[in-house]
Amino acid sequence: MRFRSSLLLAIGSLLCGVAAHAEGVVYGPDGAPTVVQHKLHTMTSKWEIGLSVGTVLNTALVNSDGLLLDVSWHPNEWLDFGGQLLGNLTSLSQLSDNVRAELCHTTTSCRTATPHRDELTNNNQLRLGAFAMGRLAPIYGKFNLASELPVHFQAYLLGGVGGAAVRRESVNLCAQPGTDVCTSYQTVDQFKPAGEFGGGFRFYLGQSWSIRTEVRAWLFGSSYKIDNDPTVPASGTEHGYLALIATVDGGVSFLF
């Protein structure tokens, strides 16, 4: 009988232990239990619509500001994929205007004295684009502003492929044959395959709304002319290169 009491007590203690283990309590260095909260903002099986405004970071010869509209589906907590539409207002920068002002100083025949020119690179104006894109969000976190306001956030990487309408207006190659001061420059409008990659942060405002900020690089093939005779626009040889336009954008998104 005494044996059976001890056995029952042991089995009871074991069950208690197993049950306690099932609770998943983890004890911190100070002996207090650490509570692991579940995510406050879940993404699984939700659609997302986002709208951002952006500007370029690395194109000194070109100004570009625009909008980015995206729609995506979140199959789980850390992945979403969808489509994007990009629209930018673009123009040549003040630096480009300064360069042009230095090209010809006299009113007539200034181009005859100018040796053959190579075209300046990185004059691409990314105007419109449509992309299939995906985001991988491995990091979810929370911080407290002024120890009182908890802010939940997500950090993610993004990538995509698609097509883009790109205008290339030469800064230093004239479109007009002849020797007079140039008033029109060589311009090409093309639709090109393009890609993007980058990363960003999402700050949750609630279950539906969040603020996003992203840095990304747009990649596409471009070209520049070498050995262009300033008086003969059609002269010169095209050389290809991979253009990279870096942008930063910020906006809001709605989850439903």
């Binding site: 059976r4 009491s5 029952l8 007590l9 089995i11 009871g12 203690s13 069950l15 208690c16 197993v18 049950a19 306690a20 099932a22 609770e23 911190g28 260095p29 100070d30 207090a32 650490t34 509570v35 692991v36 909260q37 579940h38 970071l57 690395n58 000194a60 010869l61 907590e77 850390w78 300064n98 360069v99 230095e102 090209l103 020119r117 190579d118 075209e119 300046l120 690179t121 990185n122 491995p138 990091i139 979810y140 976190g141 929370k142 911080f143 407290n144 502003l145 002024a146 120890s147 802010v151 956030f153 950090a155 800064v171 230093n172």
Partner: protein, 278 residues
């Protein structure tokens, strides 16, 4: 029967606990598992300029900090930029359009020493793929110090000199930064930071020589002689080891110094690295 009741009493709370909803709303004031207060922190960063219009910088930084409080530290940092040159845009402008940025805008950093303060008002946590939870701190810092500067005299495609530089002296420097510190363990952290390095771009001398000195050196080296009547501190030999190289570099220095220009330069640098708390 008594034993059965006893067993039930032992196991019932545990079983009940398992059946409760998984998510509970609780308000927890959690004590931090460890503190930075009273500890030193040694950091090593790789850095790169993120607004490379006319200049390109990349290098290494070391930082020693003492955390007076959990969210307040004193810092001393040293930076070295082995990649410090004019951007491809600057060289393109010279080679293809015969224009160059103003001298002040093209001033390059060779190294810098900064002393300052760090404030970490934002504290949080993050996890990666729902795995390990890491502590997180967002901080701002500010510092003052000095920078050693140089000017690029000739572009990389120059047949005589290749890419060449001239010493432009020391400049006072200030910095403002914002960063993120993730505590991988009690001693080891990963840091990401964006710093705005602010310094004066006024240039009046290259290798200690003013505009007139540079012209005299260029003329003398072209004649394969040594310049005379130079101002004090002007180092003719710093322009090159051969007359052709020295003449080319001195000529470029003369061009750069011809029109005085001044600019407050904002060099935005992203730096990422690791640190060790002890």
């Amino acid at each position: 029967m008594t034993r059965a009741i006893l067993l039930l009493l032992f196991t019932a709370p545990a079983l009940a606990a398992q059946e409760q909803p998984v998510v509970e709303r609780i308000h927890v004031l959690e004590k931090r598992p460890f503190t930075e207060a009273g500890r030193w922190e040694l950091s090593l960063f790789g850095n790169a300029q993120v607004n490379p219009k006319f200049t390109v910088h990349a290098g290494l930084s070391g930082e020693l900090a003492y955390h007076l409080k959990e969210n307040f530290a004193l810092q001393l940092s040293v930076s070295w930029y082995p990649v410090s040159r004019e951007s491809s845009l600057s060289e393109e402008l010279i080679n293809k359009a015969s224009v160059a940025p103003e001298t002040a805008e093209a001033l390059l950093l060779q190294g810098a020493v900064l002393a300052g303060l760090e404030l970490m008002p934002v504290y949080g946590k993050l996890n990666v793929f729902d795995g390990k939870i890491l502590r997180l701190g967002v901080y701002i810092n500010a510092g003052v110090g000095a920078a050693k500067t140089q000017l690029q005299l000739r572009p990389s495609g120059d047949q005589i000199t290749g890419r060449s530089f001239g010493d432009a002296g020391y400049r006072p420097m200030g910095s403002l930064g914002v960063g993120l510190r993730a505590f991988v363990s009690e001693r080891f952290t990963v840091r990401l930071e964006l710093r705005d390095l602010v310094y004066s771009g006024f240039v009046s001398k290259v290798n200690g020589c003013n505009h007139d000195d540079a012209l005299k050196i260029a003329a003398a080296e072209n004649a394969k002689t040594t310049a005379t009547g130079l101002s004090g501190g002007c180092n003719e030999s710093a322009f090159g080891s051969t007359p052709a190289i020295a003449a080319a570099n001195a000529s470029s220095a003369g061009d750069l110094l011809r029109t005085p220009s001044a600019e407050v330069i904002n060099n935005l640098a992203f730096q990422g690295g690791v640190s060790w708390l002890f």
